[in-house]
Amino acid sequence: MTTTATAPRTSAGRRRPRHYHRVEISRRQRVILGTIGVFGVLLFWQLASSFGILNKTLGSSPLLMLQTAASLTESGVLGAAALSSGQLFATGFAIAAVLGVLIGIVLGWFSRTAALLDPWVSILYATPRIAFVPLIIVWAGVGIQAQIVMVVLNAVFPIIVNVAAGVHNTDRQFLRVARSFNAGTFAVLRTVALPGAVPFIITGIRQGIMMALVGTVVAEYFVGNTGIGGLIFTAGVTLDTATAFVGAAIFAIAALILSSALGAVESRVDGWRS
């Protein structure tokens, strides 16, 4: 990535203008191009499947997915699976959010506690959480508890790490102001450290949501084959690629919805930054 400031010279010795930056496009253009991108790929996929370039059994097709989704919905399988996954995700994420924010505040605020526990947070955060699955099954069994533990374990670390960073980086001058106005430790946390850490908390929650989704899929693959994850897993084993694709698409849509919902929450609680 080395760009020189001087534009290359043509044989005539004149400077030729060159774009060093990406061309700016309007939001509308971006939406249109994005839509074309998505539907272009789907169309290509459908055509490849229709003309027999792609094996229908292995590669499925968008139309086949729509048909499968319709029949799964009609039979009630999809609804029940989505409900089960939704409950697992919501429970696990809620526990992870509460734990993550509380632990994050403690680690961000109390330097000695942080120094004591930081290595463990790093070790656990760095270890692929899926490595703990057999242990969790040994300890928590093969029921919903084990599934929830897996979701929590996946989601909690990014929340801890981000909240701790946010609280730790509290503006020193704001701390002086709060102290001079007789704020006690708890009041300083509530009125200065937490509001100041909101962008970090939102980032942690955003990563936590995505990791909780991963945790949900992992839990459903390895424990009980319930929910949408179980549907995908079973479909894969039986070469039912259309159902597997439908399940994957549902997770993708869930992720997009959750992400934009969080964006809306963010602009509400953090509106002063705009």
């Binding site: 002086r176 106005f181 007789n182 009125t191 100041g196």
Partner: protein, 279 residues
């Protein structure tokens, strides 16, 4: 060492020398020596003594490194000191308290709070009930001329307006002592003059005792009943000047020969203590 120049005796109508509200005596503070340096601890304040009468307006001036801000932090209870004492109405200062309010050099308003919730912060921390806070906030905002901006966030206000909010935040609690750390230092000349005049009228109205740090000699003289000049390394009281001009003070006092004489005396002395510390 303390060379106290009293030009006139502070006179309070109807009373002889009143009981001081703030009593500072023998105040000393040093910071541990910098890591790896052979020198001993750095003395920042040495044997500071100062009595401040109720309702008095004191300005503190001195070259950089004279410990002005450290002195203010000690009075505010934001910094500890090694020896000596600071008493307010007879009570020893131990940390921040509701009897003192600080106006900071930077406006330091919480960006996530509206102006009215920033102004009410101190009262909120003291646990006042909501209606009392609302009433006091309204009057403080009115006093500093920010009415209509209650629901704005700090970033929507100019630097001068943010400083008004900073001032209002300190006024809300009716603290008997207001400590101000170069609050107008970052303002442009015009805004600064306006703020000085407003501060004079506000402080006259509420009768607070003010300790005001500045490095602007004209400002120090224009605002003060007494100007305290500190000398640096270590920070000590060099001299104290009584300011003889009547209150309410008119802006044109700055053009008087007396004002010029006093500011040039101060400028001269400031230069002396600054350069003697360099050698």
């Amino acid at each position: 060492m303390t060379d106290t120049t009293r030009i006139t005796e502070a006179t309070m109508p109807g009373s002889s020398t009143p009981e001081p509200l703030v009593t500072i005596s023998g105040l000393s503070k040093s910071y541990p020596s910098p890591r790896g340096s052979a020198a001993g601890p750095v003395r920042v304040l040495e044997d500071i003594a100062l009595d401040i009468a109720p309702g008095e307006f004191i300005t503190v001036i001195g070259p950089s490194g004279c410990g002005k801000t450290t002195l203010l932090d000690c009075i505010a209870g934001l910094a500890t000191y090694d020896s000596g004492s600071i008493r307010i109405a007879g009570a020893q200062v131990q940390g921040p308290g509701p009897d003192r309010a600080v106006v900071f050099q930077q406006a330091s308003l919480f960006p996530w709070r509206t102006i009215e919730r920033n102004v009410g912060y101190g009262a909120e921390m003291l646990g006042w009930d909501k209606s009392r806070i609302a009433e006091r906030v309204r009057s403080a905002i009115d006093v500093v001329g920010l009415s209509g901006y209650e629901k704005h966030h700090p970033h929507q206000l100019s630097g001068g307006m943010q400083q008004r909010a900073n001032l209002a935040r300190a006024l809300v609690m009716d603290a008997p002592v207001v400590l101000m750390d170069e609050p107008f230092g970052a303002l442009d000349a015009m805004t600064k003059k306006t703020m000085q005049d407003e501060l004079l009228s506000v402080s006259a109205r509420i009768g607070s005792t003010v300790v005001f740090i500045t490095h602007d000699i004209d400002e120090a003289v224009y605002l003060a009943d007494r100007v305290v000049l500190l000398r640096p390394r270590p920070g000590r009281v060099d001299s104290i000047y009584d300011v003889p001009f009547a209150r309410p003070r008119q802006r044109d006092v700055v053009d008087s020969a007396e004002f010029r004489a006093l500011t040039s005396t101060l400028a001269h002395r400031l230069h002396e203590v600054g350069s003697s510390a360099e050698s």
